[in-house]
Symmetry: C2
Subunit: 411 residues, 2 copies
């Protein structure tokens, strides 16, 4: 797999375990280290890497940082290149340093998952794989089904037995094989990988190493959009841990390549009602324990046994990051503020990052020079049911009384 | 309002009526010609216009074509710059010429409306207007509320009395004043403009001239993304008519500036169950009549008395375009194909364009050199209720029988 289209040469992709430093050839059916049972990552081989910003697709712009020898344009849905929006009104209200939202809801299926799926599907097609799959009830199901459809791959979506019909249809519209499975969700994750390996179905689940490569691009874009600066703080929700790991790898790449000497303070955020990693971090532990009885409105990150949890704890400690937890009340308040002050409709999982920033800014002094980036991971449109709790007021009138009604309301 | 940041000089913005050729100074509270009662457009004053593609916001890239002397970056939500995706699998299935989807669902509030709202809100803020509003039950409500929130404007959303709670919350999340109004929808549109004029509330409704300026950008982007070519056909759904009018003005601008000598064949598409403009076009009429008893699954374009209908008929005839109608069955089949073959989840209103292309390709010979662009205007996520009719199959099993179930299904 030599590539000479650029000034660099692609070496054979490898997987590495950061716990035992073992390396293996890339195998999409093997994502955990056989010795440590922790998720492996694509090993980054030092080479001359650079941004190709004149290209149209985000995968092409940052291709030299990715394990893709070739990018097939027709497989893309136009993922990435999302806006970095200043949050000036939120900033003023809470006396914060300069804050930006990296709005990942402006992706083809309205979540950050598309970046990971895009890389994994490119690799699947280049390897001649015909069947892909995922275990998900939300954003990842829709994203995998959409990219699978576009690539003409057989796509299997395994769902929890109690997934609501509307969530199923949001992925089902793309025509995947939908299969509801009764039983434990964690066991289903493991079973999918085992069956996939046996039958040649590439289950690109949450912590897949190629998915994580896609999330790196978000980090490069942030650096680029800030004019070649690294933010002081980077907040991102933590579910499986894959997204945060990808963002950390991105800035470590930039440092390794000499683009910067700084790293952001990485702040992983969980919902208090399901916060196994935040709890382990607070307790100074290297490994998390499964979280009993998860209960939070932030369904997209309600993951009681995140497969990347221990790797997050390791990377966060090594790079002076932290993992925080916020309550459902704080989440709902932050969701409302993002919408009412900034025009961004984030899902509760993404709203955690603003809640965490407000909390942290009260606990620790932030300077006006400390730029903060909040990664908004998914659209609130996909969890409309949670907005019922916001009690949004609606007035009523008739056409003949419209003018008077507007005056009464104070419009 | 002189502007000297570029090589061109902004003259005072004017409105023009294309029916009587009268011109008026721009007044955001006056959108219909006092003589013809037809919608007015921003008059394009010949000047040296060009693309500034090195800028980050779409409003800045095409600013010299817009009536904006200044772009305030913080008001933007990152609208525009949407992907133009080749639809190769749909093309092969239906033996079509090269087809592209201009995917407007990848906008901040998931529809093309954001482009129009962005321009109108820029102008509102520059004029010192403090209150804006709209009459809508869907995409325009969400878009106006989001941009209004970001700009810190008082925002009023007038709704039909029977608007479902979930649709209300999708706009209500941004904190506008929500007012359900009993009575005729067409009269509500007229009443909003009258009350707005009286009380200084800028109702940026469907056919607003500044909104239409925003839709022009989509045309410039298509030209740019095709490498400086004009497509042979451009399909776009028609509701009020504003979107199609904006796209036509874009290509007329390009011709006027000498970028091209060609224009696309503009194809406006309506749902048969509410097709006043298509019916008038088929009957060779210059003016449409209100459509009795509208009934279609494409709610976003179910407009029995479109305020821009006559202007669409005029422009389409003058520029060799056409207006077609497609049935609900054709719409649903096209919606499914866009998702299952290309990974794009369009709402039924947007799916009309693929249905119309398939229909037209059977009726009239298209050459392999005839590039076609379909404008996908809004996301299917906002009308999930219509997907119930697609009867998407879901299989069931248990964890222990998972492997066998997958084999049985043929995965």
């Amino acid at each position: 797999m030599q590539y000479t289209g650029h000034s660099w040469v692609m070496v054979m992709d490898r997987l590495e375990c950061l716990f035992c430093a073992r390396r293996y050839p890339l195998d999409v059916f093997e994502i955990f280290c056989p010795f440590c049972h922790e998720p492996m990552l694509i090993s980054s081989t030092p080479r001359k890497r650079s941004f190709a910003l004149d290209r149209s697709l985000s995968l092409e712009k940052y291709q030299s940082f990715l394990p893709l020898a070739h990018v097939t344009k027709t497989l893309s849905l136009g993922e990435g290149d999302t806006p970095l929006l200043p949050l000036d009104r939120v900033r003023r209200k809470h006396h914060l340093p300069p804050v930006y939202a990296k709005n990942e809801t402006i992706n083809p299926t309205q979540s950050f998952k598309d970046r990971g799926t895009a890389v994994a599907v490119q690799k699947a097609v280049s390897l001649g794989i015909k069947s892909i799959g995922t275990v998900s009830t939300g954003n990842m199901a829709g994203s995998t089904a959409a990219y699978g459809a576009r690539a003409g791959l057989r796509t299997i979506v395994l769902l929890k037995a109690d997934t609501p019909p509307e969530k199923i249809r949001a992925a089902g519209i793309y025509g995947p094989i939908l299969l509801k499975v009764r039983g434990d969700y964690g066991e289903l994750f493991a079973a999918s990988l085992e069956i996939g390996r046996k039958h040649g179905i590439y289950f690109m689940n949450s912590i897949d190493p190629l998915r994580i490569e896609g999330y790196k691009i978000t980090g490069y874009e942030i650096f680029q959009q800030l004019g070649g600066r690294v933010p002081r703080y980077l907040f991102v929700p933590v579910s499986s841990g894959g997204h945060l790991i990808g963002l950390m790898r991105a800035f470590l790449d930039l440092k390794e390549e000499g683009f910067t000497e700084e790293l952001p303070v990485f702040v992983g955020v969980q919902a208090k009602g399901c916060s196994p990693v935040a709890r382990a971090f607070a307790g100074g532990k290297a490994r998390y324990s499964s979280f009993p009885h998860p209960a939070t409105i932030a369904h997209a990150i309600s993951n009681p046994a995140p497969p990347g949890g221990n790797l997050v704890l390791k990377l966060v400690r090594e790079n002076k990051g932290m993992v925080m937890a916020v309550t459902d009340a704080e989440i709902l308040a932050a969701q409302r503020e993002l919408a009412e002050l900034e025009g961004i409709f984030a899902d509760p999982a993404s709203a955690t990052v603003l809640a965490a920033l407000i909390k942290l800014s009260r606990r620790q002094r932030m300077s006006l020079k400390d730029e903060v980036v909040l990664v908004i991971t998914g659209s609130g449109l996909k969890s409309m049911e949670t907005t019922e709790r916001l009690n949004i007021p609606v007035h009523q009138t008739s056409l003949s009384r419209l003018e008077k009604a507007l005056r009464t309301i104070g419009a």
